[in-house]
Symmetry: C2
Subunit: 279 residues, 2 copies
């Protein structure tokens, strides 16, 4: 008739639970559901359940969740949120997707390498006059991508300009793409800050009768589902979103279960995915 | 110093918690994160936390979550999973996105109306030789869409053929689009089973040198983010995914808090979004 050991009673005495909290900045950004799927798969295989907190880079929401988590004696937290919050000493805490020096545990993609791969790919495709989109400066991964791309372009003596974008919010993508075309009169390559912005730049380019990749070539960052399905297919830097989530959950569970963690800061490798949007 | 009432102790005595479970078939399908965001927003505003369960139309995973939920004295369940499971009498249960007659509480989109809107839009755009993609038959919403579209096409005496697709899985989209073009030699319109499949059909059409919408026109279903950003912009039927989640969470919390529910089965209205993929 469905009697199970009551986890609430167990956690009351043990002062812990088999629950982990997952803080995300924006679950409607298509990168994060893949990450969440990785977290959920590892958790489920190991008898943990996942509490979802969508914090939208809003410090109040993040505070509220940390309070909730404390009330429920949660055993650990995975956070892909902005990372302004310091390590919470009461429970194990693993940062996803953003490695901050002062944090002890994190799993992220090597975004500096990703930026380099994007810069190299554009140079190899004979980019002469390049626009580099810079993501929001408060996002550490965005800075790393920019710095990786610029290091390659500088070393090659390439001609480029940096276009600052203030947000990764998807509802700003079209507006941002229009602004890019209105700001720069002549360019042949765009290193986009992510695939959503790459798609918006591609749309604006086609509307303005530029051929892709002949007139303007574009490279994205992330490798979203739609990047494969659009035409022309988007050349991009794949981030292992699922793996970040899966390995992050493993690290957190290892911490909760007091196993030895050898690498506290893990950087996964991004990968160039060649399709048709570079020459 | 951060002492909060211990919810674990409270829920032990009250035999309930302020936790709700959310079962999704596939969080990497871009429809569901929007729904999850709606659930999470309502829950958070009302002091509930959300436990995420990605069940992948896998009955074992669903069973496991129901067991977890019972162990944690969860107060209610929202389920967008396949719905094979009967109502769980022990806690309130609200179906999202799929209305089954034997279920008492559900919030979904009026998919039959959505199918009609798609059929009408294609007829108004002078579709003469129409392919209707049928989604998987075990998904009740997919049947409703098909039946809505066919009712309009039949009433108008239109010429159409039905193309059966076995899955909504996104990694099957390209293969399915190729199969569609290999199966049917001549057609001028496609009513796609969702936006992901519409995008795949569009890509295959452009690869085969068909102009959109002049040679082949396409309508999707869902209104995903990328549908606005692709070129040509996808005309589609918008489902209010966020609203399904938000209102579903409200209904569940009302049930948990023993408020009176007037409408047990709520159908939200889909909407035609006109862009450039229909003539």
């Amino acid at each position: 008739m469905g009697y199970y050991p009551n986890e609430v009673a167990r956690s009351l005495y043990q002062k812990s639970s088999k629950m982990i909290g997952l803080l995300l900045p924006d679950i409607s950004n298509p990168y994060f559901p893949l990450l969440a799927k990785g977290v959920e798969d590892y958790a489920q295989q190991n008898g943990y359940i996942v509490i979802l907190g969508n914090v939208e880079d809003n410090a109040d929401k993040e505070d509220m969740y940390v309070k909730f988590f404390s009330q429920y004696n949660i055993s650990g937290v995975l956070s892909a949120a902005s990372g302004k919050r310091k390590n919470n000493d009461r429970v194990p805490y693993v940062l996803l997707d953003r490695a901050l020096e002062e944090e002890n545990y994190s799993i992220s993609t090597d975004d500096r390498l990703g930026g380099k791969l994007a810069g190299q790919a554009v140079l190899e495709s004979r980019g002469k006059n390049i626009i580099v989109m810079a993501g929001p400066r408060h996002v550490s991964g965005a800075n790393d991508r920019l710095s990786g791309a610029l290091s390659v372009l500088n070393a090659a003596g390439a001609s480029y300009r940096v276009f600052e974008t203030e947000t990764f919010q998807v509802d700003k993508a079209e507006e941002t793409a229009q602004k890019l075309f209105n700001t720069f009169k002549s360019f042949d390559s765009v290193i986009a800050s992510n695939d959503v912005f790459a798609l918006a730049v591609m749309k604006e380019a086609i509307k303005r009768k530029h051929r892709i990749p002949e007139d303007i070539q574009i490279i994205g960052y992330d490798d979203m589902l739609f990047s494969r399905l659009m035409y022309p297919g988007l050349t991009t830097i794949a981030q292992p979103a699922y793996e970040v989530g899966f390995k992050g959950a493993k690290m957190l569970v290892d911490l909760i279960e007091k196993k030895v963690i050898i690498d506290k800061i893990v950087k996964l490798q991004p990968e160039l995915i060649r399709r048709d949007s570079l020459r």
